[in-house]
């Protein structure tokens, strides 16, 4: 069983919440890179794209840990 509760300052939190925070940090970095090269300017709905990327990153993290 790879999904075990994580001890944060004595409180056991669900692994998904840690993965969600990690995915958010990764997405922030990707968004900064996309913003630096002006890639978001080519997108119809930048916020929707960033959200979709976040879901992809989160799903990837879950699959990697599960695998």
């Amino acid at each position: 069983m790879k999904f075990v509760e994580v001890n944060v300052l004595g409180v056991y939190v669900a692994p998904i919440s840690v993965m969600m925070v990690a995915a958010w940090f990764v997405t922030v970095v990707l968004r900064r890179i996309a913003g630096r090269f002006g890639l978001l300017g080519y997108v119809w709905h930048p916020a929707l794209l960033v959200f979709a990327v976040y879901i992809i990153v989160l799903s990837s993290i879950v699959l990697v840990i599960a695998g």
Binding site: G10, V11, F51
Partner: protein
């Protein structure tokens, strides 16, 4: 030796002097800081007292979920007294409507989980729609009806959805708890702060009207070049009048007498718009006249305006206006009668006198409002009922759609994941998505601040719950521990930096802590509840990002386009509006203009108000003078967005009126109508691009 001593002492003396100055500077800085921190700290104490009183009563009555009493007390507490008291009343109404709604929803879908959850989302969407359509605290009541239903539903729903049939009992209990909180906060706030909103409103009304009157007086005495210099000032004044709306609502919230006569205050605000419209029309006319004629006609009007009005001190110094508003109103009314009765040799002079009378009538309405605020003559009767004029339906529909999608999305997530605290996430998603919907372009930032505030509240609640509360056994000890958090949180909420975040911090602390008669210290339960609340708020913030509200620029453009559409409908007689209907509709549009709107856009809306008013008057007059045909051709051109043809038609109409005037039949009446024709011509010339715009919404 002596000289040497002096030479040695001087640097020391200088050092001592500079140290003394530094100490004095520090002392004055500290004194100023203490003086500035006083009111916020006092508010923090009030917040703490309200929450503790509400919790004490709820514990004493042994209600099953006493934390909602403390939560509602914390949410009702606002730094402005008027805001708090009125919010409290509206909160009671909203809570009741929400409770009734969820009971009906449960009755409609007793066995259908999908029906109940979709119904809940639709109820939330309807509340978001109404919350956007209504203004200020009526809007807050509608939002409350939405999230009260969500609060009761979260208690009612089982682990994976579906009503458990205890809706009525839960509704009674939650409403009782919430009302205890509202009443406790109301008692504490009303007993410790007597408010200053009516005085503040009186000062603002007096200041704005004094500035309009004095600037108008200056416009009549100054040369043509100075007239154009005043244009930015006039447009800025329109913005300041629009901003009065929330202050009026706060003042109404502090006094039941003002609430009963609220229409007088709304009329005062309308009076300021009328005064500005009249001032604009006078300035446009003077700018189009040759210098000598402009001087001559301006002097003729100037003599009819009382010196006390046009020499009024600028904003901030209009104390005499506040001191005797009844006398000033009498003076205005007398001046209006003088202006109407004064003979006018030319249509141009007639226009100037009529528009000046319009300005003074507007100021008279303002003095009426001032009299209500400070002098209270026992003569006001609230005969007119305010009608709701929706400036634009689109923002409300967008907000309703967003609320529906968000609540449904969180419900689906909850069902798929079978998350035990999913119902709480739905509640807080509904709260955020509904309550921030009317904030338009700042909704996302506010929702994010709210989420950050909730996150901070979760950390603070964890510290208090697991480090503070286990060490106390009495209610007094519990209150002291609560005070350690609530007093600073309340003080931070009352200062101008990030008030939404600190309001979320103070308001969500109690539900996160969830104090009960038998407190449990279950860390897993606390963590799950905190996560559900933060994720619910996060889902709402995300929804504002993915389905953004209209930008201020889009809102302004839509309001202008809708106004132009209404004006054209008015011109084609597709709609028969009375003058009051038209005026109120336009005041609603002006009030809905975002603060970021261009000054020119405010001026265009004001011009549309004037043109519409004159069209209604001319339409009323035309059959009596047999001028239907001429007027119809003018209005047809106006409806087609052809201001050149409309101006040509107005010239023909003016000539026909002039020929009627030559026969000495209804001479003064004819001059008045010619003045109106001229006023429309001036407005069309001033804002030709707007009136000719082909777009229709």
């Amino acid at each position: 030796m002596r000289k040497g001593m002096i030479e040695l002492s001087l640097p020391h003396l200088r050092g001592l002097a500079s140290s003394w100055h530094a100490v004095s500077g520090w002392r004055s800085t500290l004194a100023n800081a203490a003086w500035a921190a006083g009111p916020p700290l006092l508010f923090g104490l009030r917040l703490w007292a309200s929450v503790c009183l509400a919790l004490y009563i709820a514990f004493w009555l042994q209600l099953d979920n006493a934390s909602w009493a403390g939560t509602s007390a914390a949410l009702v507490c606002q730094p402005l007294l008027g805001a708090s008291l009125r919010k409290g009343w509206f909160r009671m109404i909203g809570t009741l409507v929400g409770a009734a709604g969820i009971v009906m929803l449960t009755a409609c879908f007793p066995q259908s989980r999908v029906g109940f959850l979709v119904g809940l989302a639709l109820w939330g969407a309807a509340c978001a729609l109404v919350a956007t359509l209504l203004r200020n605290f009526a809007s807050y009541a509608a939002a409350l009806a939405g999230y009260t239903a969500a609060i009761i539903a979260s208690d009612e729903l089982g682990a994976v959805g579906g009503a458990n049939g205890e809706a009525f009992t839960l509704a009674i209990t939650r409403v009782s708890e919430i009302w205890i909180g509202i009443v406790c906060a109301g008692i504490v706030l009303a007993g410790t702060d007597f408010g200053a909103a009516p005085r503040r409103l009186a000062a603002l009304l007096a200041g704005l009207s004094a500035e309009i009157a004095s600037r108008f007086g200056a416009a009549l005495t100054l040369a043509e070049s100075a007239l154009s210099d005043m244009q930015p000032v006039r447009r800025e004044l329109v913005r300041q009048v629009i901003a009065l709306d929330s202050v009026i609502d706060q003042a109404i919230g502090e006094s039941s007498r003002l609430h009963y006569h609220s229409q007088v205050l709304q009329t005062a605000m309308g009076g300021l718009f009328e005064a500005l419209a009249g001032w604009s029309a006078v300035v446009w006319r003077l700018a189009r006249l040759p210098d000598d004629k402009a001087r001559q006609e301006a002097d003729a009007v100037l003599n009819s305006v009382p010196l006390e009005l046009r020499s009024a001190p600028p904003q901030g110094g209009a104390t005499s206006w506040v001191a005797d508003p009844v006398g000033m109103r009498r003076m205005c009314d007398a001046a209006v009668l003088r202006l109407i009765a004064s003979p006018a040799g030319t249509p141009s002079l007639r226009l100037l006198t009529d528009q000046t009378a319009r300005l003074l009538t507007g100021l008279s309405d303002v003095f009426d409002g001032l009299a209500l605020l400070v002098a209270d003559p026992a003569r006001h009767q609230n005969l007119h009922r305010a009608r709701l004029h929706v400036p634009d339906w689109l923002p409300a529909l967008v907000n309703a759609g967003r609320a529906l999608v968000t609540i449904v999305a969180v419900e689906v997530f909850w069902i798929i994941t079978a998350w035990p605290n999913g119902a709480l996430a739905i509640t807080f998603a509904a709260i955020s998505v509904i309550i921030f919907a009317p904030k338009a372009d700042v909704a996302y930032a506010a929702a994010m601040s709210f989420m950050v505030g909730v996150g901070l509240a979760a950390v603070c609640a964890a510290i208090v719950a697991f480090a503070g509360l286990p060490n106390v056994e009495t209610f007094a000890g519990f209150s002291i521990v609560m005070g350690l958090f609530l007093v600073p949180a309340g003080a931070l909420m009352a200062q101008p930096w990030q008030p939404t975040m600190f309001a979320a911090l103070a308001g969500n602390f109690v539900p996160l802590l969830a104090p009960a008669n038998q407190t449990s210290y279950d860390t897993v339960q606390f963590y799950n509840a905190a996560l559900a609340i933060v994720l619910g708020c996060g889902a709402a913030a995300l929804s504002f990002r993915l389905l953004p509200p209209l930008s201020p620029a889009e809102q302004s453009e839509r309001l202008l386009a809708l106004t132009l559409r209404d004006l054209r409908r008015l011109a084609t007689a597709a709609i028969h509006w009375r003058r009051d209907d038209w005026d109120n509709r336009m005041y609603g549009r002006l009030a809905a203009l975002p603060d970021q709107a261009e000054p020119l856009q405010r001026a265009q809306l004001l011009a549309a108000l004037s043109v519409g008013t004159e069209i209604i008057r001319l339409r009323h007059m035309a059959p009596q003078l047999g001028l239907d045909c001429e007027l119809d051709s003018v209005l047809k051109a106006l409806a087609q967005g052809n201001s050149v043809a409309a101006t040509a038609g107005l010239t023909v109409l003016d000539q026909r009126l002039a020929s009627l005037g030559r026969g000495n039949l209804h001479t003064s009446r004819v001059q008045q109508e010619r003045g109106r024709v001229l006023a429309i011509c001036d407005a069309l010339a001033q804002h030709r691009s707007y009136f000719d715009a082909g777009a229709s919404v």
